[in-house]
């Protein structure tokens, strides 16, 4: 039996083994496949890079736990960038499930850079009714969030002393798995001219191209790939890079097997 005949009846466990290695190895060992940074992500990075230390950025966690694996690498990378550049962060959530996610995420990233809650970052908690909340922040943060997530009146938080409305912050980053950024653009950007950035799931990306073209959004970071690009920009490879490596390698393993299968088919045909 020629090798090509054998390829036809290959033990599928060999394919399984390669698929396992194709996913497991990139998770264990950093390969760091080349990630080319797209323009939309670069714009976000550049904008944050241009902010003065001490500027204020609002990060809103507008997603549920179901999409956490895709969203977490992204929020990690962006928060790292903000804290590294000594930018102060206000966290909030427009989705109930986002509250726990945001609270944990912001505290962990803050702690990593030795930031102090109340002075360098705050987490205000969750507000339902998206439109009312976004519009309300335009007049007064205190009116929408009289107290923070812990029940401390926000007037008593040192960081919030001089923050009244969008006029006092530099940008809004909405991390979401649906079209919440449309509200941020329509209400916060259109009316109060605050810059808006979206962190999205991969499938939602196409919805937002028009907003970037029209300049209503600074840029966006979409999916695991966008997060990997951001990790590359801040020069700290994290779980997005690993996940992307695993995805790419696993796909290449599959394509490789398909090619082998076809070569074997052609060779068998010739042999006959």
């Amino acid at each position: 039996m020629s090798i090509w005949e054998k390829a036809k009846t290959i033990d599928r466990r060999i394919i399984f083994l390669f698929m396992f290695l194709g996913v497991a190895l990139p998770l264990l060992i950093r390969i760091g496949l080349p990630v080319s940074v797209t323009n939309d992500v670069k714009k976000v990075y550049d904008y944050i890079e241009g902010l003065e230390p001490g500027s204020i950025v609002l990060v809103s966690y507008d997603h549920d736990t179901g999409t956490l694996p895709e969203m977490l690498p992204m929020s990690d990378a962006i928060l790292r960038h903000l804290f590294r550049n000594n930018i102060k962060v206000i966290g909030m959530a427009l989705r109930a499930e986002g509250t726990g996610i945001g609270r944990q995420n912001i505290r962990r990233s803050g702690a990593e850079f030795g930031k102090i809650e109340g002075e360098d970052f705050v987490f205000l908690g969750f507000r339902p009714e998206i439109t009312a909340a976004i519009l309300g922040l335009g007049t007064s943060f205190e009116r929408v969030f009289p107290k923070d997530d812990e029940g401390i009146p926000i007037r008593e938080l040192p960081m919030m002393k001089d923050i009244n409305n969008y006029g006092d912050i530099e940008m809004v980053i909405s991390i979401t798995d649906d079209d919440t950024p449309v509200y941020w653009v329509n209400y916060a950007n259109a009316r109060f001219k605050v810059k808006v950035v979206a962190g999205l799931t991969a499938v939602m990306a196409t919805t937002f191209f028009p907003f970037i073209d029209s300049g209503q959004m600074v840029g966006m970071v979409a999916g695991l790939k966008g997060a990997a690009e951001y990790e590359k920009l801040i020069e700290k490879r994290g779980r997005a890079g690993r996940g992307m490596d695993a995805q790419s390698i696993a796909h290449l393993v599959m394509i490789g097997f398909i090619i082998i299968g076809n070569i074997a088919f052609i060779m068998r045909k010739r042999g006959k």
């Binding site: 290959i10 599928r12 394919i15 399984f16 390669f18 698929m19 396992f20 996913v23 496949l33 080349p34 990630v35 080319s36 797209t38 790939k225 995805q247 790419s248 696993a250 796909h251 290449l252 393993v253 599959m254 394509i255 097997f257 398909i258 082998i260 299968g261 076809n262 088919f265």
Partner: protein
């Protein structure tokens, strides 16, 4: 009676459901809510019947000491354990019932689901062979999408553009064709059922 009464019931409820789609009145929405409620109740009872049958099936294998009876015993006892946990301590966030769900049922289901990562690979190896034009097109569009959307090809403009074009145009339209066909087939079956032409599901006697 044994046969015509069920057919009459089927016709009656089929027609009500069909009509209520076009009638927004209170009576109609009320009937809709009531019938969906009934259907849920019937389903719940059917489930109990199914579970009783399931327990009988496994227990009979255990009592006959049929090959692999130990595993039938595992199924039945884990079923009773879960029911016991649920009925005694409830389904709260920190209940033992949810603990079993979170640490046993959910991870096992997720793992079975993830077997697909292996199976897509073995199926692709066998199935994506360019034996003829049809098979070539199948292979070509699959590889273009895999490379252009999810792999490093995504960073190379022509590949990602081609992949997106395939998804949005030829692929999308074939799917619409399938939808229309399935829609027509579904409507035809439903009409036959309501009119009593299709009655296999009732069996005979």
């Amino acid at each position: 009676m044994r046969r015509s009464f069920p057919i009459l019931v089927c016709f009656g409820f089929g027609t009500i459901m069909l009509a209520q789609f076009f009638i927004p009145s209170k009576l109609s929405t009320g009937a809709y809510n009531e019938i969906t409620n009934w259907v849920q109740i019937i389903y719940a009872f059917a489930l109990i019947v199914g579970v009783v049958g399931l327990i009988r099936y496994h227990l009979s294998r255990v009592s006959r000491r049929q090959g692999g009876w130990f595993f039938n015993l595992v199924t039945v006892s884990s079923l009773f354990m879960m029911a016991f946990l649920g009925f005694v301590w409830g389904r709260g966030d920190h209940s033992p019932f949810m603990w079993v769900f979170n640490n046993m049922m959910a991870p096992m289901q997720a793992t079975v689901f993830s077997l697909l990562a292996f199976f897509v690979a073995s199926a692709a190896y066998r199935g994506f062979v360019a034996r003829n034009i049809e098979a070539f097109l199948l292979l070509f569009s699959a590889v273009m999408i895999m490379f252009g959307i999810a792999s490093i090809g995504n960073s190379i403009p022509p590949f990602s553009d081609i992949a997106n074009w395939i998804l949005m145009n030829p692929s999308m339209t074939a799917r619409r064709g399938i939808f229309i066909g399935v829609g027509l087939g579904t409507i035809a079956v439903s009409l036959r059922v309501i009119l009593g032409v299709e009655r296999t599901y009732l069996g005979k006697e």
